[in-house]
């Protein structure tokens, strides 16, 4: 009897916490907590990995920082939760993280069936091939009959199978369990080429003994738009994360960066700039944020270009003219107007 009442009490307690949580929006929850909980991979160079001081850095981690700057006014108020690929969506829908920023590809199935919403893209990736420069290959079509190192059991492997079958090319896949192992396979001569996402290939190339000995083939055989993901059912929160990204892209387009944002805020004739830095308009309050939310993002984290340059350029992924460049410079990074 005593046990039963104890059990009931426990359930009542859970129910109580539940009801008190259910009424609060994600924004209110984060503000009450004073900290953003952000799911990251924690082990992908350029996207999110610990630096020497033990802080997560990378283009994915920067999204967390930016959202924290927008919502809390402090880019440091982030708790990073390293998540594996398998558990990331559960962690998000179970409420363990507020934002999932873990190089996650936007696909219809994920969007429609997992109870999550994709916001916008912070990196547009795609599957490519890397070969030895000395082999003088210029296209995937030259890979007929080649053996190709690939991480086994990934969509990468399936994409390659589809592509080669479609083109009528012969190949031998050489499977490895980790991406590091595929790189060692390529270096050791176990295969003629290696395939993975372009950003991953660049990271692997930078890990080789002589990075200049390898080159990427021009074909990109899959679309991998990566971006932050939020829980379904909280539109305000989705807007906040989406527009944080938009603010960073708009800022780059308008030439606002972390070093000149103070000057721009003090005095700028351009009304678009004035709206971003918060000296004009009502963008912040419409989202439920403070007037200077975008200013805080740019001041503390930087615009999109700055973040890219700091975290992705060192991997050797050039931005100029690539899909990840601004739409004004031939890329497809585009943002609706912030007004």
């Amino acid at each position: 009897m005593k046990k039963i009442s104890l059990l009931l009490g426990a359930f009542a307690l859970i129910g109580f916490t539940y009801s008190s949580v259910a009424t609060a929006s994600t924004l209110e929850e984060v503000q009450a907590r004073g900290e953003l909980v952000c799911g990251v991979s924690g082990g992908v160079a350029g996207f999110s990995a610990p630096n020497d001081a033990g802080r997560m850095v990378g283009i994915d981690a920067a999204v967390c920082d930016a959202v924290a700057a927008a919502v809390l006014g402090d880019a440091d108020a982030v708790k990073y939760v390293p998540l594996t690929a398998a558990e990331r969506f559960t962690a998000l829908s179970a409420g363990e993280v507020d934002v999932l920023s873990r190089n996650t590809t936007h696909t219809l199935t994920r969007d429609a069936t997992l109870g999550v919403n994709f916001t916008y893209y912070n990196f547009i990736d795609g599957q490519g091939f890397m070969v030895a420069k000395a082999d003088g290959l210029s296209s995937v079509m030259d890979l007929d009959g080649a053996s190709i190192c690939v991480q086994a059991g990934t969509t990468t492997e399936l994409n390659m199978a589809d592509y080669f079958r479609n083109k009528g090319l012969d190949y031998t896949p050489v499977g490895y369990s980790t991406s590091t192992a595929t790189r060692e396979g390529l270096e050791g001569g176990a295969c003629d080429a290696i395939t993975s996402d372009a950003s991953q290939l660049a990271a692997l190339r930078s890990e080789t003994a002589d990075p200049s000995a390898w080159t990427m083939l021009p074909e990109i055989i899959s679309k991998e738009p990566l971006g932050p993901v939020v829980r379904q059912g909280d539109d305000q929160w989705m807007d906040i994360v989406t527009w944080t990204l938009h603010a960073m892209i708009n800022a780059e387009e308008l030439g606002i960066d972390s070093s000149n944002v103070d000057a721009m805020r003090a005095d700028s004739p351009n009304p678009s700039v004035a709206r971003i830095v918060g000296s004009e308009g009502e963008t912040g309050p419409s989202l439920g944020l403070s007037q200077d939310w975008a200013y805080q993002v740019i001041k503390q984290v930087g615009n999109y270009g700055e973040v890219y340059e700091k975290h992705v350029e060192p991997l050797g992924i050039a931005r100029a003219g690539s899909v990840n460049d601004l739409w004004t410079r031939g890329g497809i990074i585009y943002s609706p107007p912030l007004r």
Binding site: A49, V57, E87, T90, A91
Partner: protein, 375 residues
């Protein structure tokens, strides 16, 4: 009148032939005793010659240790980059929270020192009050550990267990698993031999269920499935979930190890204690268990060593144990490409702990076994 007294004296022993004593004989007997031995010896010498000098060259003579960033290593790639390990030592040992807050680093360091201070006297034979020391280690120390490292009390800043990492996390998981699994395992082993059908079938089902499930599945369930059963927002720390999973899993293995000891025990022991009028618990505590546990020490320690290594599976649920944090560190822009060094370091730390446990168990066995060997 002089008489020659002949004194019979034993001459001193002559030295054995030089080729039967000393290192010459040892070498002759053990390394070149037969044709096949000679071949194997030569082969191994060749392998040592082939692999050891390049390894030493890489890991010692050409290695980089100075500086605080990768530039020095990038210039000299013929040697290991221990600079990386040096710079990242705090992260590798204590995880990201303590690496971010170096002023708090004394907390895990002190916790480890106290642990060493409690464990060392236990390993020395002559220490008095060993039982009390053990009790302190098993009961008071965990409380001390949680309040010191976890914080939130006595004005020490709070650090969530999910933010611990590296050796600290590996150690915590293994320690909790070992300390909780041993009593649970003993109870289960006794339960499995019980004459009460309910207790017995429960124990059998429990043991066979957890033994039949891979640890990776249990951890995955604890991390991915469990939150779905709880309403959104109910936080249940991931580390605690992992600890529960590991303990449940480990207790099944410990139970089987203990049962081995129970079965090896002569039936006469039970009968004799019954004849003395002892009840079940008296028999078990004073007669059966002390002997059974002594027999099962090697297999119990074996499961503990396996558990210590198995804790690295928690990386599958996103916890940064020693191995995972070493891996992640070598994926950062600051140090990518130096993963061999990271793995070597993690491997060395694992080896030190596992070898230490193994040595301790051998010592314990020798000590406890002495009275049995006296014929």
């Amino acid at each position: 009148m002089t008489m020659n007294t002949v004194k019979f004296e034993k001459l001193p022993d002559r030295l054995p032939p030089v080729n039967t004593v000393g290192w010459v004989a040892w070498v002759k007997q053990n390394l070149f005793g037969s044709v096949s031995n000679t071949i194997i010896t030569l082969l191994f010498f060749y392998l040592i010659f082939l692999y050891i000098p390049p390894f030493l060259e890489w890991s010692v003579f050409n290695a980089n240790i100075s500086g605080s960033d990768r530039s020095i290593c990038d210039e000299n790639r013929s040697g290991a980059c221990w600079t990386f390990i040096k710079v990242r030592m705090e992260q590798l040992l204590f995880g990201l929270y303590f690496a971010q807050n170096p002023d708090q680093m004394w907390r895990p360091i002190m916790a480890f020192i106290v642990f060493g201070g409690l464990l060392t006297p236990l390993a020395i034979d002559r220490t008095p009050y060993k039982k009390w020391l053990l009790l302190i280690l098993l009961v008071a120390y965990p409380i001390f550990f949680i309040s010191l490292v976890g914080g939130g009390v006595f004005g020490i800043p709070k650090s969530d267990a999910s933010e611990w990492g590296g050796l600290l996390l590996t150690f915590t998981l293994a320690f909790v698993g070992i300390v909780l699994a041993l009593p649970l395992g003993i109870l289960l082993a006794l339960g499995r031999r019980s004459k009460m059908p309910v207790v017995r079938s429960f124990s059998i089902i429990y043991i066979e269920f957890w033994r039949g499930t891979p640890l990776i599945t249990i951890l995955f369930m604890a991390s991915v499935m469990l939150p779905l059963f709880f309403p959104s927002g109910v936080e249940f720390d991931k580390v605690v979930r992992a600890m529960i999973g590991i303990t449940l899993f480990q207790s099944a293995y410990t139970a089987e190890a203990v049962r081995g000891g129970l079965q090896a025990l002569d039936k006469g022991q039970t009968e004799a204690s019954m004849a003395l009028g002892m009840g079940y618990w008296q028999q078990t505590i004073f007669i059966i268990l002390p002997q059974a546990l002594r027999i099962s020490i090697p297999s119990i320690v074996n499961t503990f060593i396996a558990l210590f290594k198995d804790t690295s599976l928690v990386s599958i649920i996103g916890l940064l144990d020693l191995l995972k944090i070493a891996q992640n560190s070598s994926r950062s822009l600051d140090w990518n490409g130096y993963d061999i060094e990271a793995y070597m370091f993690a491997g060395l730390v694992f080896w030190i702990f596992c070898f230490g446990m193994s040595i301790y168990s051998q010592k314990l066995e020798r000590k406890l076994d002495t009275d049995r060997n006296v014929e």
